[in-house]
């Protein structure tokens, strides 16, 4: 095993249900449900178990609404599981939210952490203060991230003037600023062009080499190339596949095109039950 064997993330039988109020088809139904509401339970995540070791990088693949973001929210302590347990760095994220928060990073594609009206460096300064990063560490990290992600030239540009690719790079840098040991990336490459994706892939590989655990959720199979090690396929809140990318490719028996077919087959079989 190339990884440190100690598990960083352990999820067992992790489930999260939501209660959704029903709207009603017509006016009569709506008025009826306005007076006496009706609910439906949606199982966003249903009994998922896995264990991720330090330094491992995982691609968490699923269709829209498969439960990817819910999983990330559970792992970050944003949501509390309906059933099952989860630990990150040996702690239940929800119970030890602050302690967990210091050691994880979260990037949500399309939702920037940058202070919209201010030059990029102001966002870094504020986040440095928020995470209580020591001045010398802060300096060194900024230097490193500026170099790797090539954001030095953007340093004095107001965030609202950045292109999507530039913004994504800055957001990535912000996510890694406080030396998190685990980083969650939710659709980080959404809307990016090929070159921008390549840059992000290189950066994430670099961070992997530094031993950071990467958990990348995406609906895009191409993102598997970014995170090479392990793939988890999730569908309707259930785990369909958990293994190395090679294993998945073997199942597919060929290149990415076939991989797509294999994944589709997984989904179809899951639909049939």
């Amino acid at each position: 095993m190339p990884y440190d064997a100690s598990p960083v993330i352990v999820a067992s039988n992790l489930s999260r249900y939501f209660r959704v109020r029903l709207d009603g088809e017509n006016l009569k139904d709506r008025i009826k449900r306005f007076i006496k509401p009706q609910y439906r339970v949606v199982k966003a995540l249903d009994g998922v178990s896995f264990s991720i070791s330090q330094g491992e990088s995982v691609g968490y693949i699923g269709l829209n609404g498969a439960g990817k973001s819910t999983t990330i929210k559970l792992l970050c302590g944003v949501l509390v599981p309906t059933a099952g347990t989860v630990t990150v760095n040996g702690l239940e994220p929800y119970r030890h939210r602050t302690a967990t928060a210091r050691r994880i990073g979260l990037m949500m594609g399309q939702r920037t952490q940058l202070l919209w009206d201010l030059p990029v460096h102001e966002s870094f300064n504020l986040l440095g203060k928020i995470y209580d990063i020591k001045p010398d560490v802060f300096k060194a990290n900024v230097k490193r991230l500026q170099d790797v992600l090539d954001i030095g030239p953007l340093w004095h540009t107001p965030a609202r003037m950045l292109s999507l690719g530039q913004k994504t790079r800055c957001d990535l840098a912000l996510t890694f600023l406080h030396d998190p040991s685990v980083v969650f990336l939710d659709e980080p490459t959404i809307g990016l062009d090929v070159l921008a994706r390549e840059r992000i892939r290189d950066f994430i590989n670099e961070e992997k080499r530094r031993g950071v655990t990467i958990f990348l959720a995406s609906h895009d199979l191409d993102d598997l190339e970014i995170v090479a090690d392990r793939v988890m396929l999730i569908h309707h809140g259930k785990l369909l596949f958990d293994g190395t990318q090679d294993q998945l490719r073997q199942l597919a028996g060929g290149p990415l095109v076939n991989l797509e077919e294999t994944v589709k087959r997984f989904y179809r079989e899951a639909e049939l039950g």
């Binding site: 709207d23 006016l27 709506r30 008025i31 449900r33 306005f34 509401p37």
Partner: protein
């Protein structure tokens, strides 16, 4: 008719938010309660203030509370400025409907929900408690006509402010100008309370068509001889504001298509 559909869907939308609805009801009741006590306290040692009796002022302010939800609904039109900035306006432009008319009807649907779900129960409750007297059928009818015109004037004014923010590139300040408008419209106090010069100013501005006239008709502050002239002036202001806001919008559209946004 498609515009009626807009109104209908907005009306139905109101049923989605249940807890929100109760908060709105409590809010409306609370504001009516404040007005009731405030004016009783203000009239402890007087029979008339600014020539108005306690009953008249109470009728004026309480029916104002009933109509408040109906009249604030069109403020959504303020958002067209931000739709222009974000580019969402393109969706409005490609649709084969007139934005002014569409927003007018959507607002009317929202206003209708607010009136049926909040205003009307409040009105009936106050009538049952004997707090608010319902006027003669004739006055009631004229009140309703006047209220509808007040809505259209209110809508056109907020639409105009929305177009205005398209030129200034910022919506900042519009809300505050609104506060001044609400003072001049008589929402805060009947215009009789104003000093003479401010009263004269308010009489020559369109704002009193947005609140004062319907409430004065209901409460009897507008005497029998004043109702018809008020309605005529309100009607003229309504048509005027509709025309001006439509013109401003088509002007904005033109510069939008020429400059490409």
């Amino acid at each position: 008719m498609k515009y009626l559909m807009y109104a209908r869907s907005e009306f139905i939308r109101g049923f989605r938010y249940r807890a929100n609805y109760w908060a709105t009801v409590i809010s409306a009741v609370a504001l009516a309660v404040i007005q009731w006590y405030l004016w009783h306290a203000a009239y402890t040692d007087k029979d008339l203030i600014a020539g108005l009796s306690l009953d008249q002022v109470l009728a004026y302010t309480l029916i104002g509370r009933v109509a408040a939800g109906f009249l604030t609904a069109p403020t959504a039109a303020l958002r067209i400025g931000s739709r222009v900035r974000t580019g969402a306006i393109v969706h409005d432009m490609v649709k084969p409907v007139d934005l002014h008319t569409q927003l007018l009807w959507q607002g009317l649907g929202r206003a209708g929900f607010s009136f049926v779900a909040t205003g009307l129960p409040l009105l009936l409750a106050m009538a049952a408690l004997g707090v608010l007297e319902i006027p003669s059928p004739g006055r009631l009818l004229l009140f309703l006509i006047s209220l509808l015109m007040a809505y259209v004037t209110m809508f056109s004014t907020s639409f105009l402010s929305g177009v205005f923010t398209f030129y200034t590139k910022t919506a900042v300040g519009v809300d505050y100008v609104y506060t001044v408008v609400s003072l001049l419209s008589g929402e805060f106090l009947p215009l009789e309370f104003f000093p003479a010069w401010l009263r004269t100013a308010a009489d020559y501005l369109p704002f009193k068509s947005m609140h004062y006239i319907p409430m004065a008709i209901w409460s009897g502050i507008a005497g029998p001889g004043e109702v018809v002239p008020s309605l005529i002036s309100q009607c003229l202001w309504t048509l005027g504001m509709v025309a001006v806001s439509k013109m401003a919008w088509s002007g904005a559209l033109k510069s939008l298509t020429v400059q490409g946004g």
